[in-house]
């Protein structure tokens, strides 16, 4: 009899065994090593680190392997692992001005001090499947040059010098930590940027795209996009000074946005900002556009009712781990509630039918 079946536990165990077998795929085919994933699926690694909020390429590779390439599942594994890590302390803010850039471009100037550096980009590749890669290829070797080690100036600093762009007021206030405190609205900009940088790439991209198509248009130019390594330093109280504890690859995007002025601000350019773990310029640019859209209030702009201007809407729905969990939970049994609905519908229908019959009889 159906209701007497007690199979939950065994069913789960069997499902897990099957999943493990499927994950491995055909055993005749060589198994992927973490190093292969880390080296050859680097952009997937970067996305998992960015949205998992944990910079560790080897763990990200493990998560991707375990999740069979489902990146949201991999991000989930990283987030859950992250929960168990004790918080030792906070690093100093990273200095992206001294980034060793692999790539650095500006769309607002033809050339600028520091130069335009294309770096390893898909941008001008023709998207033709390269069937040479099907066969075991040789390892391609590109020409190399010494990296620029001196600080590369920021494009927005040039504009700032002339007073053409809104000055960001520096602050030493400790930013809120969304992984340690519950989200609160209204959120300040630091908190918004935290939520966006770990937000789902697709969601942030969609929101940014909507502003470009007119839902809260804010006329962005990519003032500067830079990708490269920065040092992470941490104050050690016993030493009394900061020491380098590691290096991370970051993508930073500063947009320059047209602004005709408002009641409180003169006409000037304004800024949007994106900063993401790894090489992920789609995400960094998207983040900068959404950041700018969310700043309408402080800049005295009109709220056009665009989705990307709505802080609570954007930030409450940007996290793919929250979203996928809640979306997929509707797979769980809901038969108790459904039963309640059944009883209600039957009751309402019976009454409606009775009323119709009575009307017909009259």
């Amino acid at each position: 009899m159906y209701v007497a079946v007690k199979g939950g536990e065994r069913a789960i165990d069997n499902a897990h065994d099957w999943l493990a077998e499927e994950r491995r795929g055909d055993p005749e085919v060589a198994e992927l090593s973490l190093a292969q994933i880390r080296e050859q699926m680097a952009l997937a690694i970067h996305r998992v680190m960015a949205e998992g909020s944990l910079y560790d390429p080897d763990l990200a590779a493990l998560a991707i392997k375990q999740s069979r390439g489902d990146l949201i599942e991999a991000i989930f594994l990283i987030r859950a692992y992250r929960t168990t890590l004790p918080r030792i302390g906070y690093s100093d803010p990273v200095e992206t001005g001294s980034m060793i850039c692999d790539r650095r471009i500006s769309a607002t100037f033809k050339d600028a001090p520091g130069g335009q550096v294309l770096g390893p980009t898909f941008d001008y590749t023709h998207r033709l499947l390269d069937f040479k890669l099907v066969a075991d290829g040789e390892a391609p070797v590109a020409d190399s040059a010494e990296p620029q080690t001196e600080n590369i100036p920021r494009i927005t600093d040039f504009l700032n010098r002339d007073g053409l762009i809104q000055t960001e007021t520096p602050s030493d206030a400790t930013p809120p930590d969304m992984t340690r405190e519950p989200m609160e609205y209204p959120a300040n900009r630091a908190l918004r940027l935290q939520a966006l940088t770990r937000g789902d790439e697709g969601f942030v991209l969609g929101m940014a795209y909507s502003t470009q198509r007119g839902y809260g248009r804010n006329h962005p130019f990519v003032g500067e996009l830079r990708i490269g390594k920065v040092q992470v330093e941490m104050e050690i109280p016993e030493l009394g000074f900061a020491i380098k504890i590691g290096e991370v690859t970051l993508t930073e995007c500063e947009t320059v946005n047209q602004f005709t002025g408002s009641k409180t601000e003169p006409p000037q350019f304004t800024r949007g900002y994106g900063l993401v773990f790894g090489q992920s310029e789609r995400k960094a640019i998207s983040m900068a556009l959404v950041d700018r859209a969310l700043r309408w209030k402080e800049l005295g702009e009109d709220n056009m009712g665009a989705p990307a201007q709505d802080e609570e809407f954007v930030l409450s729905h940007s996290d793919n781990i929250q979203a996928t969990g809640f979306l997929e939970h509707i797979k769980l049994p809901h038969y108790v509630d459904f039963q309640s609905e059944l009883e209600l519908i039957r009751k309402l229908r019976a009454e409606a039918m009775a009323a119709t019959q009575k009307e017909a009889a009259e």
Binding site: A80, T83, T84, E312, Q322, H334, V336, Q339
Partner: protein
Amino acid sequence: MSDYNFAYLDEQTKRMIRRAILKGVAIPGYQVPFASREMPMPYGWGTGGVQVTAACLTPDDTLKVIDQGADDTTNAVSIRKFFENTAQVDVTECTQEASVIQTRHRIPEEPLTEDQILVYQVPIPEPLRFLEPRETETRKMHALEEYGLMHVKLYEDIARHGHIATSYAYPVKVEDRYVMDPSPIPKFDNPRLESAAIQLFGAGREQRIYAVPPYTKVVSLDFEDHPFEQMKAEQDCDLCGAGHTYLDEVIVNDQGGRMFVCSDTNYCATRCDAGHRGRLSPEEDAA
């Protein structure tokens, strides 16, 4: 799993959750924000309940986990296993034996005692959410005790359908102050929200904890001329014959044949063991 702390969460996190629970107990029905952690099961699958349970468990506790009233539904099995692995606590299916019960969508039929904690998994803690999606607005409405919108909604139901068309997650008012979502339990269970046990509600994704302390007044919202009504299938349980329990309807054959059985599987099994019989009970062995 031995690398993890007792009940998975580190002590700092548990302390933070306990603070939120204490605040919730002090202000019955009030949603306390807490810094919910990412758990190794998905949001929406009981992470709030799991965190509350983790913060309440001691090594001497006996844990029961149910989903839809049943101990053997897959997610209940999974959560029970999680705590067996990470906290090594005793587990049970017997309601009376449990000191902590984590539940999704039901309150056990057996009345709970002062020695028990009932932990609910909550998907959307905000009873006003579907009337006003903005957290910034609903928090204000609670602060000002501005619940007119909810009454208008219930009134519109009556005007349109003749009844309040809410059959689960039926809103309640706690201790004459906060309107609270009792989680998606069928409204059949609402009267049992007034209990001797402490009731804790955890919403992980929405980062909220709230509580109904023992013997707290909990009133299902209604009108004088349309009083709150409990609702269940009219049948008796086909296995144990109970006429007073919440029943699941199970389709048993291609002709649409149905049977009705207690959703609380432990309660039903206990009654069957005690000799109660229903319409479809197996024949007694002719010894």
